[in-house]
């Protein structure tokens, strides 16, 4: 299309048709005051502050909603315009209450800023404030709508960005205000307390409930959210070294745009919790008591070295954390492999589906990992399976809801529970728990019958399609319907929606933690290959990561079976590569994973365990068993930021720093590598974890160490091809595709991907004693086991109990009422919880929090979908 040429303030400008006059001006460095405009929201032209004048016609128009036209001659600051603008501000101010002095928006208020810029002081108008009640019953958001200037940014953010729809204008004219349905308080509405509207509000009408501080922070610094694997960019405001508020970053191309979720926005107050560790501790006479860093590190170094010498390298293990940075994870595994000579290194994300992730890594040779979430909005069709992103990774939920509601992308949700996405879906497949394998194979068989396979893709990139077809055509579709509980008509409808399209799969913990997870993933890879849904944009596998650096910790090799760069340990070539770089002979013994570490400790084979940033006593099932195992150790070192169940059992406690108190880097679920600098200093004598690891390795190995984080980063980007772009372009870069498969190469060289055999899983016999299936759910307010989020004052005030959801008919059968207490038991233990009854569950499903399932004997995930019985107590 032909560019439009016009003049703004005498400057000749050319821009694409459809550009608004406002954007044309802003892009050319011409400032125009606005109150209702935001680059991430649809323009509405509500405030009229962006008025400009076309000199040729004398027309005055709101520039944010006027598209450019040929030969316009725009003045943004003519005397007429200035008068109009000042009058608009005077009118808004006459409608405003006189509470500026006590308003926590302080000098961040855009109304005050603009009034000051335009030189509007006293309005000389009759003041007509519209007093409304103040609402502050929830611990997150205060609404004082008398300060509302009706810009509708909050409403548009709520509808267009987070797609919740909790608020809209109610009533008309002078009475009109953003309101919930039936004017209920926010906590009685569908509001998720993401706080996105609060950050958008130009005035103090919406503000953050802050018990510690009122007013604007002294300093604002950018960082990355410390919770889930989305890795939202945010700015933290601090006062005297304490973090007082959090907002989405103002940068344009972040993963979260202008949104956050309740955790990112409101739960970071846990960082100020009194349980923070501020100095190293050593156990003396049975008690943990303060020590200097020198003393503590000496005990750790001596202890590890002497245990290694006495019992051999296999007697020492390292359990790191996917909450720690990539620099720390790299150092951590290097200490284990190079200094202690063991592959016994793992991290806490083991339970979030390691076996499934390893399976994809191996089948795709590490390829297809670059998955920008923005691709979901451009996808042809989305298939969400075993994922509840509106709770686990809310920003992923926003992308999916936007894709469906705004971009009209067909969305299929396969989940036994009616998740928050179901109302936005085109189809909901309410399958029986653990029957995903059958469902996926069944859909593949139907697509094959319809000849919906992408044959040119299959020919170019894959092998083994024929045997795959053979076994698919032998599939008994009636049995599939019986096992999954999904009717044939619905299966066919799904196949129809998928037919001929490239699929974007969103995969969550319903698959990652399921006992048949690896088989389900195998089936999904086959389906993706058959439909040509891999390699390229807007399709493929979007894997939900629970912790913010889950992907990064794996990339750094903080796991027993992969070396840095996700290179399999059993691969000789990769082992040689690292042996040469590190100048060591790597132990040929396969290392212990998290579960095997506990088992070896129980057997007395493991003597020393170094835990960094994990709380296995809370995060793993069977806490008593873990406690006994840990008690048997000769040396337990725990490096953490909080006093936890686990630090209480340690011999040495090392006080680390939270992400906001150190420099570091996280890699998110998309493959985006994001570095950050400290916002505040660590409490007391606590230190950044990479510094602790560096000091320790120097004590143990007489090596030079790194001394600066830049040096660690340089080594990572030089040595790990996947991270070769890391740090090249400032704070944000992407991992590089390093797969050897033809599919992921621009010139189509390399190997082809194989279809794997169709497996049908045996859904084990129904056990009368344990008739219910427990599905592990998540709550939006908490992350994982909740070690950190439950220390947030705001989250505590919100008072969530983690109830068990039971299908209402089952509830009636067991004579349960909402609020009754039940004991839920599996053969491995029991927990007690309150009950809520739900209509939208399949019969025989109960949802619970972690704490019941047995530790996996082998590498099987199997933490989800265990069988339980329910008793009223």
């Amino acid at each position: 299309m032909k560019a439009i040429t016009l003049a703004i303030n005498g400057k000749n400008i050319s821009c694409p048709p459809g550009t608004s006059v406002l954007n044309a001006a802003l892009e050319n460095g011409i400032k125009v005051p606005t109150l209702c405009h935001h680059p991430h929201l649809e323009p509405v032209g509500a405030c009229r502050l962006c008025l400009v004048e076309d000199e040729k016609t004398g027309r005055i128009m709101a520039s944010c909603v006027t598209p450019v036209a040929h030969n316009m001659s725009i003045q943004t600051d003519s005397p007429v315009i200035k008068t109009h603008r000042a009058n608009i501000i005077r009118l808004i101010m006459a409608n405003h209450p006189e509470s500026c002095i006590v308003c926590s928006q302080g000098n961040r208020c855009e109304l005050r800023q603009i009034a000051a810029e335009l030189g509007v002081g006293q309005t000389d108008l009759y003041p007509m404030p519209h007093y409304t009640g103040l609402e502050e019953a929830n611990p997150f958001i205060i609404r004082d709508l008398s300060k509302c200037i009706l810009c509708s940014k909050c409403i548009r953010a709520d509808h267009e960005l987070v797609v919740v729809g909790a608020i809209d204008y109610n009533l008309r004219g002078f009475k009109s205000r953003p309101a919930t349905v039936h004017e209920m308080p926010l906590e009685k509405s569908s509001c998720t307390f993401c706080g996105t509207c609060v950050s958008m509000c130009p005035t103090g009408a919406l503000s953050i409930e802050n018990t510690r501080y009122v007013g604007s922070p002294q300093k604002e610094s950018s960082t990355i959210c410390g919770f889930c694997g989305v890795g939202c960019s945010l700015v933290m405001g601090s006062v005297d070294g304490q973090i007082v508020d959090v907002n989405p970053s103002h940068r344009e191309k972040t993963v979260n745009l202008s949104t956050l979720c309740v955790r990112g926005h409101f739960a970071h107050d846990y960082l100020n919790a009194s349980k923070r560790l501020s100095e190293p501790l050593i156990r003396k006479d049975g008690e943990l008591s303060s020590a200097t860093w020198d003393e503590a590190l000496e005990v750790v170094a001596q202890g590890l070295i002497s245990i290694k010498e006495k019992y051999g390298p296999q007697s020492v293990a390292f359990l790191g954390s996917s909450k720690c940075t990539i620099e720390e994870n790299y150092l951590f595994q290097k200490i284990a492999r190079v200094i202690l000579g063991t592959n016994n290194v793992d991290n806490g994300s083991y339970g979030s589906g390691r076996a499934v992730i390893n399976l994809i890594s191996e089948r795709l040779d590490g390829g297809g990992r670059i998955t920008p979430l923005a691709g979901l909005e451009e996808a042809e069709v989305i298939f969400v399976i075993g994922a509840d992103p509106t709770e686990t990774a809310p920003v992923v939920g926003y992308y999916l809801k936007r894709a469906s509601r705004i971009k009209k992308v067909p969305l299929i949700v396969a989940d036994p529970r009616k998740t928050g996405l179901v109302p936005f879906s085109s189809l909901w497949l309410a399958l029986s728990p653990n029957s995903d394998v059958e469902l996926i194979n069944g859909l593949a068989a139907l697509l094959l019958k319809e000849k919906a396979d992408d044959s040119s893709f299959i020919d170019r990139f894959t092998q083994g399609f024929d045997p795959y077809c053979d076994s698919l055509s032998g599939l008994d579709l009636e049995k599939v319907c019986r096992v999954t509980g999904v009717e044939m008509a619905v299966m066919e409808e799904t196949a129809d929606l998928l037919k001929g399209k490239k699929i974007a799969f969103v995969i969550g913990h319903g698959i990652l933690q399921q006992k048949h997870g690896t088989s389900a993933m195998d089936a999904l890879v086959n389906l993706a290959l058959m439909t040509g849904s891999l390699g390229g944009d807007n399709k493929g596998f979007y894997l939900i990561a629970r912790e913010n650096n889950e992907a990064g910790a794996l990339d750094m090799g903080a796991v027993p079976d992969f070396l840095p760069g996700r290179r399999p340990f059993y691969n000789n070539k990769d082992r040689k590569y690292w042996e040469k770089l590190w100048d060591v002979k790597l132990s040929p013994d396969p290392g212990l994973n998290l579960i095997r570490m506990i088992e070896e400790a129980e057997k007395g084979n493991l003597k020393a365990l170094y835990i960094m940033g994990e709380n296995p006593l809370l995060s793993l099932p069977q806490p008593e068993r873990i406690r006994n195992a840990l008690n048997d150790l000769e040396l337990l070192v725990v490096q953490d930021i909080l006093t936890t169940e686990t630090t209480h059992t340690a011999h040495v406690v090392l006080a680390g720093a939270a992400f906001s108190e150190k420099a570091g880097t996280f890699t998110n679920m998309e493959g985006r590598i994001q570095s950050f600098e400290p916002v505040v200093s660590p409490p007391g004598d606590a230190r950044p974890d990479w510094e602790i690891l560096d000091l320790l390795s120097r004590r143990m190995s007489h090596a030079d160490g790194y001394a600066s984080i830049q040096k660690i980063r340089a080594e990572i980007s030089r040595r790990i091809p996947m991270y070769s772009e890391f740090g090249k372009l400032g704070d944000e870069s992407w991992i590089r595709e390093t797969s050897n498969l033809r599919l992921f190469h621009p010139y189509e060289e390399g190997e082809s991907i194989s279809f794997s055999p169709v497996i049908s899983v045996d859904n084990e016999a129904f056990d009368k004693a344990y008739p219910f299936t427990a599905i592990l759910g998540s709550l939006r307010c908490h992350l994982g086991s909740g070690t950190r989020t439950s220390l947030s004052d705001r989250i505590k005030d919100f008072g969530l109990k983690g109830e068990v959801e039971i299908f209402s008919e089952d509830g009636t059968r067991l004579s349960l009422k909402v609020g009754d207490k039940v004991r839920i038991s599996s053969p491995n233990g029991s927990i007690e919880r309150e009950v809520t009854l739900k209509k939208d569950l399949r019969s025989d499903d109960a949802r619970q929090l972690m704490g019941l399932t047995q530790l996996g004997e082998t590498d099987s995930p199997g933490w989800n979908g265990c069988h339980v019985k329910i008793q009223k107590i």
Partner: protein, 163 residues
Amino acid sequence: MTQPKEIDWGLMEATINKHRGETWALIPLLQEIQAVFGYIPPDSIEPISEALHLFPSQVQGVVSFYAGLSLKPKGKYVVRVCRGTACHVKGGQSILRVIKKELGLDEGETSPDYQFTLETVACLGACFLAPTMMVNSTYFGKLSPPKVTSVLNQYGKDKGEDE
């Protein structure tokens, strides 16, 4: 009748279902509900929004924006008194005063027996008949206090007899 009609939720569902999936049809659907039920029952907001793929807050926003739609049940007879300029000049104020007194209602109120609702309107568009009022869809013009009383009596007499 001393109660607004019990809502026939089956009928409501059928009415809503006619427009399932038709996001554009919000206003026609609301008008239909208003016509059939006399108002938009607040509990219908949820099913309406679900059927039309809208947010409940959006539906409420539309209902509360238009004077022709109401979330409260109205009386059998809705009396609309004009407050426009022409009617004002011709003594519309005292007409309103008389009606308020006769019905014992203030603007926007409905009698406890759901017989009358009193509303005011900016202009009924019949200025040549000023001062004016409407009862449901019937116009009354060139009003005087005695005429008002007789009109109201006409409707008052109906009390108790249905339709």
